[in-house]
């Protein structure tokens, strides 16, 4: 199909934003100072901006529900879009550090809302550094699912502290996840897969899901199929390594 207006960032045929206009670097430094606005505390997150149809006003005191799923490093938003229709009653948010990519996901969600009235109202995206600001967005035990799909592998040992799954950051994820909440990780890098698994395995507040539990969890199936990264791996017939763990309460 021919695009008449080559400069339009929105595809005429689908109404969706075109990815070529949102190309960004593959990596972003999570250690650098951030210059985007950050909510002072979770009650300051403006739900009316993220979910305008569900929250016509930003009434912080009478929120009927709160965000329950977080996709950390959501990339181009493939997982969120799939989750949105799979869990239509659940509020979910993607967090992405690269501003152009966040912009793309924002446009994508807006376009999907227009094309499918009534749908995709429960999904949104925010540009932020989740490694630094998770507690500013979510209260203790607010989340029921957290997703870490194909994170930056940071091979050098010197850069391991930039990895989004690390023993110390898991403390913060354990804080935001409710007991019984689930953390999903997947990667196509074997070394990183082992790292994430061992971090979770050694953390006293997480336990692995059993094979049966993995089998019946609808979100597990999306890990390798729903995201752009996952599809790329599948196209190249690459291997993926996943680790799915449940938040448990601390030993007395």
């Amino acid at each position: 199909m021919l695009d008449h207006d080559a400069n339009s960032t929105i595809s005429k045929s689908t109404g969706l934003p075109r990815k070529r206009f949102y190309r960004a670097r593959a990596h972003s430094n999570p250690l650098s100072d951030s210059h985007f606005p950050i909510p002072i505390c979770p009650s300051e997150v403006d739900y009316s901006l993220h979910y305008p149809q569900l929250f016509p006003s930003n009434d912080q005191l009478h929120r009927s529900k709160k965000i329950e799923f977080a996709d950390i490093g959501c990339g181009f938003g493939g997982l969120l879009i799939s989750l949105s229709t799979l869990f239509p009653e659940t509020l979910m948010i993607g967090m992405e550090l690269r501003d152009k990519v966040t912009e793309y996901v924002k446009e994508r969600i807006l376009a999907l809302r227009v094309a499918n009235p009534g749908q995709y109202q429960n999904v949104s995206v925010v540009r932020t550094n989740s490694m630094k600001y998770i507690p500013n967005y979510f209260e203790k035990a607010q989340l029921s699912k957290m997703f870490f799909l194909f994170p930056d592998p940071h091979f050098k040992e010197k850069n391991h502290r930039r990895r989004v799954i690390s023993p110390h950051l898991l403390d913060e994820y354990a804080y935001t996840l409710r007991v019984g909440g689930i953390i999903y990780t997947i990667t196509d890098v074997e070394e990183l897969g082992e790292w994430m698994k061992s971090c979770l395995e050694n953390h006293p507040l997480f336990e692995a899901l059993t094979a049966e539990e993995l089998e019946v969890d609808p979100a597990v199936k999306l890990l390798s199929s729903a995201t752009e990264e996952g599809q790329k791996v599948a196209r190249n017939e690459g291997q993926t390594f996943q680790a799915v763990y449940r938040r448990i309460s601390a030993a007395p």
Binding site: R25, P30, L31, D33, S34, H35, I40, C41, P42, M131, K132, Y133, P135, N136, K140, R161, P167, H168, L169, L170, D171, E172, A174, Y175, H203, P204, L205, A250
Partner: protein, 434 residues
């Protein structure tokens, strides 16, 4: 990246400037002042200066000390800072009994209430714990110890570290506006994983935290001071904000000259008489602000501004003991080479606090003359390194401390043009164009 080295060069120089610190023994047996790499202790019981004994090799600390504190039982004292060394001293013998190496510069330290652990934080946001093997003998030979990492604030400078009064929680404050309350693990200490709460509400870096005791609340109430010119009161179990007191307004009222757009950061807080009163030091205020803290009604209100007669005395650090009669203040700085002084310190004491008198009125407060300070001139000679000063130098010192603090803790804001320029000159782009 081309233009930033210039700016960073400036910044690094300023960051070397360290404010003077003061700490008083919980039973007022001794008082310590740190200026630059120099640690000075005066024995208030024996009324004599203390010579520290450090067998690790003569020079004690080799770079600016950034944190000093006594343990709440008074047996231990910790000093640490830019030389990446944590020294744990016995307050009986004033020997350095443990030497702990750190990978990064140390920004804060705390001793657990039972005296079994010392925690310290580095400038990359990692908090470490040293296990003191069940107790301390003041005359034991020096031991080199290793610290174990306990938790981390992701890549943020930790500004202050305190144990809750019952030792159950470790509270850490950072330059990213956050206060984290972590359950301190009971034996064996490996890692602290369970976060009790985050105290969120400050809109600028958190500079200092302290605990207030209350009988029916064993862990205590937390108060914090910040670059946003407020002091806040928190419930650490829930992380909820109980009260906020704008102290910046007070400074503006006091300062006749107009200081537009200038936030007065809170630099030090100190609880007095078990927390009914809180003393607050603020940038550019010559004196302190006394707050009354009503824990039943959850209010923080200004009682009085105690200003010093010398307009140049802007305290950089405050301390008081449990048996509070005195509030100890210090102002000073190290690393101010252009003024011809390697280090400067001036100690003052406010007296008149009366813990036992419920009808205590703040009118009884007075700033002691030099000869009326416990220890008198001998103490000042030791802690200040002299008794006479050119007062004007302290104004420059206060200004330098202020700049250094804001360079260290405030995020640099670049204009849009500057940011675009930096993006344009990014290395990966340049390669493509070339």
């Amino acid at each position: 990246m081309e233009e930033t080295p210039v700016e960073e060069g400036d910044t690094n120089k300023d960051v070397e400037i360290a404010p003077a610190l003061i700490a008083v023994h919980p039973a007022e047996k001794s008082v310590a002042v740190a200026v630059g790499s120099d640690l000075r202790v005066f024995d208030l019981v024996g009324n004599c200066p203390v010579s520290l004994i450090d067998e690790s090799g003569g020079s004690y600390h080799k770079d600016s000390i950034r944190t000093i504190c006594y343990g709440s039982n008074g047996q231990l004292f910790v000093s640490a800072g830019d030389d990446k060394t944590v020294k744990i001293w016995s307050t009986e013998s004033w020997r350095c009994i443990y030497n702990v190496g750190s990978e990064k510069r140390v920004s804060a330290a705390a001793i657990s209430p039972n005296g079994m652990h010392v925690c310290f934080a580095d400038k990359f946001g990692v908090i470490w714990v040293v296990d003191l093997d069940g107790g301390v003998d003041g005359n034991q030979p020096l031991v080199n110890k290793k610290a174990v990492s306990l938790l981390s604030h992701y890549c943020s400078i930790i500004t202050s570290l305190e144990f809750s009064l019952d030792g159950r929680f470790l509270v850490s404050a950072d330059r990213d506006f956050k206060i984290r309350v972590t359950t301190f693990p009971t034996k064996p200490v490996n890692e602290a994983h369970e976060i009790q709460s985050f105290c969120l509400g400050h809109t600028d870096f958190v500079s200092c935290i302290a605990f207030i005791s209350k009988l029916e609340c064993p862990h205590g109430f937390l108060i914090s001071g910040s670059g946003d010119s407020t002091v806040r009161l928190w419930d650490i179990l829930s992380g909820s904000l109980l009260a906020t007191c704008e102290v910046g307004d007070k400074v503006e009222l006091l300062e006749s000259k107009e200081r537009e757009g200038c936030h007065s950061a809170v630099t030090s807080i100190c609880t007095i008489t078990d927390g009914a009163l809180v003393a607050v030091a603020i940038q550019s205020l010559h004196g302190i602000i006394l707050l009354n803290c009503d824990l039943s009604n959850h209010t923080l209100s200004v009682v009085k501004v105690v200003s010093t007669s010398e307009e140049t005395f802007i305290p950089t650090s405050l301390s008081s003991s449990f048996s509070t009669r005195y509030l100890w203040m210090v102002t000073g700085v190290s690393g101010l080479h252009n003024l011809g002084h390697a280090s400067l310190a001036r100690v003052k004491v406010i007296s008149g606090f009366n813990k036992d008198n419920p009808n205590f009125t703040e009118n009884e407060l007075s700033i002691l003359e030099d000869d009326a300070i416990p220890g008198g001139e001998k103490l000042l000679e030791k802690l200040q390194g002299g008794v006479t000063f050119d007062e004007k130098v302290f104004l420059a010192a206060a200004e330098a401390v202020k700049t250094a603090m804001s360079n260290l803790l405030t995020k640099k804001q670049y204009s849009t043009e500057k940011r675009d320029f930096r993006k344009r000159t990014r290395n990966d782009r340049k390669l493509k164009q070339g």
